[in-house]
Structure formats: structure tokens, C-alpha cells
Amino acid sequence: MIKKRALANRDIAACILLLIAIIAWFRADIFGHELLAQISILAIFAMSLDLLTGYTGLVSLGHAAFYGVGAYATAGLAALAGWPMWAVMPTAMLLSALLAVFAGVFAVRLVGVFFIMITLAIGEMVHAFAFRSRVFGGDDGLGGVPRINFDAVGINLLDPAQFSLFTLIVAALVYFVAAHLVDSPFGRVLVGIHQNESRMRALGCPVRHYKLAAFVLAASFAGLAGSLAAQHNNFVSPELLTWTTSGEALIVVIIGGIGSLVGPAAGAAVFVMLAHHLSGITDYWMFFMGLFFVAVVLFGGDGLYGLIGRMRRALTHARR
């Protein structure tokens, strides 16, 4: 089991990461703010996947479906139906959660590779729907998504710097909520299911209900990330919800360290910066990203978070 001390370490790491992000925010130019917003949004998405994969042990290749539903719901309700944004964002999360309830009832019956495959199929089903739907522009996607409006308090989110700060704050809040969730008795049960499902069942724990709850929670946070992505790009397209987006999110989680919450947030920064720089150097940057993915899975061990932990332990030993 994870000890109390390790949990405190995670929160310290999160504070340091937030501090670095704030320093980066002060030093960033317009492009820097775009990247920072991208990182914050991916961090929320990756943390939501970590709740499911890292803590509950459910590996999903369809998590992008919920991200995409959040984005498409935001586009549909705001750009097509003209809802005010303060109502749109919670509704987008709710719709992601609702889809997760329906999909999850099927999915949590399966384990291992079958769970991976059914989530992939669920994701592709939503993708196929978006790809074909005329209302949402099909293949071309749908533009004209507004950003949430804080004009009343003098904040203009159309400004890249203010928007990136907004996404950063939301990411920090999501970390705060998720950290409390995984430290709660509920989160303990999820970790228990991950470590030994049959023992949890023998203890009388309704394992499927807990898995479904984790699935729905993770989906609603993914929906929040999707809603922010739609606002950031002012645009949604079926690409948001392809299964490769889910695969990339899993890689992000592994880069940072699976089941550490703060790790996947750091992994998001590594992923976005690497993709940004590589795509500036060569047209064939996906080749190098692919190599990086393979290397991360083969040699990444327990990710950045695990690496930092090991370095710290090595230092304490050296001092003695």
C-alpha cells in the first residue's frame, strides 16, 4: 500500500510543478502561452486517464471518446445552440459522464486485453458518429466555439496569456480534486481493485460498481479537458476522438509515471514540448515520436516521478 509519506511527496512534487508552470507563464510569449494552455489541457486529460489506468488498473484505448464528447458538446451547445458558457461546461462534463455510464456498464465486465479492445471500439464508434454527422460538420469539424466569458470581472480569455493562466488554474484544481479522491476511502478501494481484484471481491466489495464509478469520474474530467480544448482551438474535429489520441494519452501517463497523478501532468509538458520542437525540425517528426514511445515503454520504468523518487533516495543514502 502507498504510505502517507509518499502521498505528501506527491503533493510537494505537484507544488514544484505548479511553480515551474507559473514561472514559465511569466516568461512566455504569445506562442509560449499557446503551448502552456495545450500542456495544461493535456495534463487534465492525462490525470483523468491516470485515475482510471494508474489507480484502478483499467487500461483504456477509448478515453479520447470522452474528451471528444466534451469538446463536441461544448461546440454544439455554445456555437450551435447558443447556450451561455457557464452552463455549457458543466453540461459537457455531464454528457461525457453519461456516455461513460452507458459504455462503462459494458466495458467493466471485461478484463485485460478485452477491456482495451472494447474501449477502443467504443471510442471508434463515437469517432465514426462524429465523422459522419452533418450537424457537426462531419470530417471538416465545426468552428466558432467561443471561450468562457469573464468580462464582468475584467478578465478577457481571448488574450492568450489570460487563457493559459485559466487552463493552468483549472488543471491545478483538477489535481486537487483528483488527489483528494485517490486519498479518500473510495480511492483506496480503487487501488485495492488494481492490486488484487479477487481479494477485494472476497472482501465483499462490489468491484464492478467501483470500476464503473472510476470510469465515469475519469470520463467527466476528460470531458472537462475536451471542453477546454474546444475553447482553446475555437474548433472541434473528429481527430480529437480517434483512438490514437487515447494511445498518446497513455504514453503521456507512462512518461510521467503511472499512478502518481502529478507525473502524468509533467508527462504532458514533456510530450507537448517534444512534439513542438520535433515538428519544427523535421517533417517526419512522428517517426521520432514513435521511437520515443517505444523507448519510454521499454526503458521508462516508473516514469519521471519514479526517477525523481529514486534520485532522492540515492541522495539520502549518499549523505549517510
Partner: protein, 291 residues
């Protein structure tokens, strides 16, 4: 027009053609899963590479038949290399890590193809013998498509006989049935796995070559077929040759008739079919290990 028997018969043949392709793609994936619980997401990439290598061989030599033999051999060799370099190290890893390593390979394969062959769409010319059409129920039908169907059937029969009548086939069946017991009896499951894996890769390459004259050859052709292939494996029941054939038949038919009768819903129907199958029979329609 939709319910005319000739129209339905033509669509049925088109469905069989897709089923034939999907069978070639899924059978290797399925048996490898049965032996090692391993799913290779880069299987579609091998299909794409098979098509491209076949394209180059056919253009350089002017012979489709040389491409039909050469490209699968090249892909099988690539599979062997992949097994030695990567898979052997991954056997103790979690399903997630195995799946994600092959996920990385997808991107590598995609850019290798773009680098060598460019972003354009290519096509292999239909071989001369099959460039014509035949009269079927008063309709003309391209004879090449019948060749694709025939090849799929031939491979199915050959694999079936190989699995049922040869020693290697017996070892593979034993390995799929119960790996630990088979190994403790002294059967070389590792070697059987290696051979089956290379054979599966070669069949994916073969599928790429025979698809090239019908479907176009472009970077990303792997992604459009991969998900269908995975669904075939899951629906049929991983590890099962007959399951792969049945799954390929069902998906080929549902996809083809779905596109004709309700194009807007065709792809959704297939996923729904998979969900229903998994709910009713979580191990697939023809599971190797019941329960």
C-alpha cells in the same frame, strides 16, 4: 433496385472479398493472441508495408506474381526481426506495455512509408489474367475480386489442414489450449510462437499486396483496416482459426451491406455488433478456451 437478387449477389461477393482480406489479416493476430496473449497493433502497419513493397517489386519487375510472393516473404522476415529485437523482451510485460510498444511502431512505420514512397496515393496494376470481368447472373464482375475471394478460401483451407494434420499444428493447438501444460510436456512453444508470428506477419503482407489493386495504397491505409481487424479477432474469439474466418465473414458482410443500405450507420453497426457479441459471449463466438 436494392432488393434485386443480382444486386444482392454482387454485394455478397464484395462482402466476401472484404472478408477474405480481413481473414488474412486477422488470422495471424488471433492465433498469436491465443498462444501468447499478445496483441500487435502494428499489424496494420505490416499490411501497409506489404502493399508498398509489393508496389515496388511489381513496378521494378513488371510482375504482380513476383510481388505476391516477395512482399509477404519480406514482411515475414521483418516480423522475425521485430520478434527477436522487441517481442522477446516484452513477454513478461503487462498487456498495456505490449500494446503500447506496438502503438509506437505504428508511427515509425507511417513515417518510413512517407519518407520512402511519399504522401501520394498509389495503386498496383491488376495482373493481366485477372484484368477482365466475368459474367455472373447477367452482371459483369471483375475477375480479380473472385481471385481475392479464392485466395482467402485457399489460405483458410491450407491453414486448417496445417493446424489439424501437421506436427507444428498440433503443437500450436496444444499451446493455445494450455500453454503451461504444453511446455511442461516438453513442447517448444516459443518456437511455435515464433513461426506462427512470422507466418501471421507474412499473411498481413500478403493481404497488403492483394488489396493494392482494389483499394488504393496510401500512408494511413493501415489505420483504416486495423480497427476492423481487431474487431474480427475479438468477435471470432482470439486464438481460433475458425473464429477468425467467422468474424471476417460477419464483419465483411455487415460492413459491405451496411455501406449500401445505411451508409450513415454502417460503421456504428459494426461496433454495436462487437459490443453485443462481447456481452453475450465474452470470449468471442468460437472461443478456444470455453468459459
Amino acid at each position: 433496385m436494392f432488393f434485386e437478387p443480382t444486386f444482392l449477389a454482387i454485394q455478397f461477393l464484395n462482402g466476401l472479398q472484404l472478408a477474405s482480406l480481413l481473414f488474412l489479416l486477422s488470422v495471424g493476430l488471433s492465433v498469436v493472441y491465443g498462444l501468447m496473449n499478445f496483441i500487435n497493433l502494428a499489424h496494420g502497419t505490416l499490411y501497409m508495408l506489404g502493399a508498398y513493397i509489393g508496389l515496388t517489386v511489381a513496378r521494378e519487375s513488371g510482375s504482380f506474381w513476383l510481388a505476391l510472393v516477395g512482399a509477404p516473404l519480406a514482411i515475414a522476415a521483418l516480423g522475425a526481426l521485430f520478434h527477436v529485437l522487441l517481442l522477446r523482451r516484452m513477454q513478461a510485460a503487462s498487456p498495456m506495455k505490449q500494446v503500447l510498444v506496438t502503438f509506437g511502431l505504428i508511427f515509425i512505420g507511417l513515417d518510413v512509408v512517407r519518407y520512402i514512397w511519399g504522401d501520394f496515393t498509389h495503386s498496383i496494376e491488376t495482373p493481366a489474367i485477372f484484368s477482365g470481368s466475368v459474367q455472373l447472373l447477367g452482371e459483369v464482375y471483375p475477375s480479380y475480386r473472385l481471385f481475392v475471394i479464392g485466395l482467402g478460401l485457399f489460405v483458410f483451407v491450407a491453414l486448417y489442414l496445417g493446424l489439424e494434420r501437421t506436427r507444428l499444428g498440433a503443437v500450436v493447438r496444444a499451446g493455445v489450449d494450455d500453454r503451461e501444460v504444453a511446455m511442461s510436456l516438453g513442447l517448444n512453444i516459443e518456437l511455435a510462437f515464433f513461426i506462427v508470428f512470422c507466418l501471421g506477419c507474412g499473411l498481413a503482407g500478403l493481404a497488403g499486396v492483394i488489396a493494392a489493386p482494389v483499394l488504393s495504397v496510401y500512408p494511413g491505409m493501415d489505420m483504416s483496416i486495423l480497427v476492423l481487424t481487431l474487431i474480427v479477432v475479438v468477435i471470432g474469439g482470439p486464438g481460433s482459426l475458425k473464429g477468425a474466418a467467422l468474424g471476417a465473414f460477419l464483419i465483411g458482410m455487415f460492413e459491405t451491406f451496411g455501406q449500401v443500405f445505411m451508409p450513415a450507420l454502417a460503421s456504428v453497426i459494426i461496433y454495436a455488433l462487437m459490443a453485443v457479441v462481447l456481452l453475450v459471449r465474452p470470449g468471442g463466438l468460437l472461443p478456444v478456451r470455453p468459459g
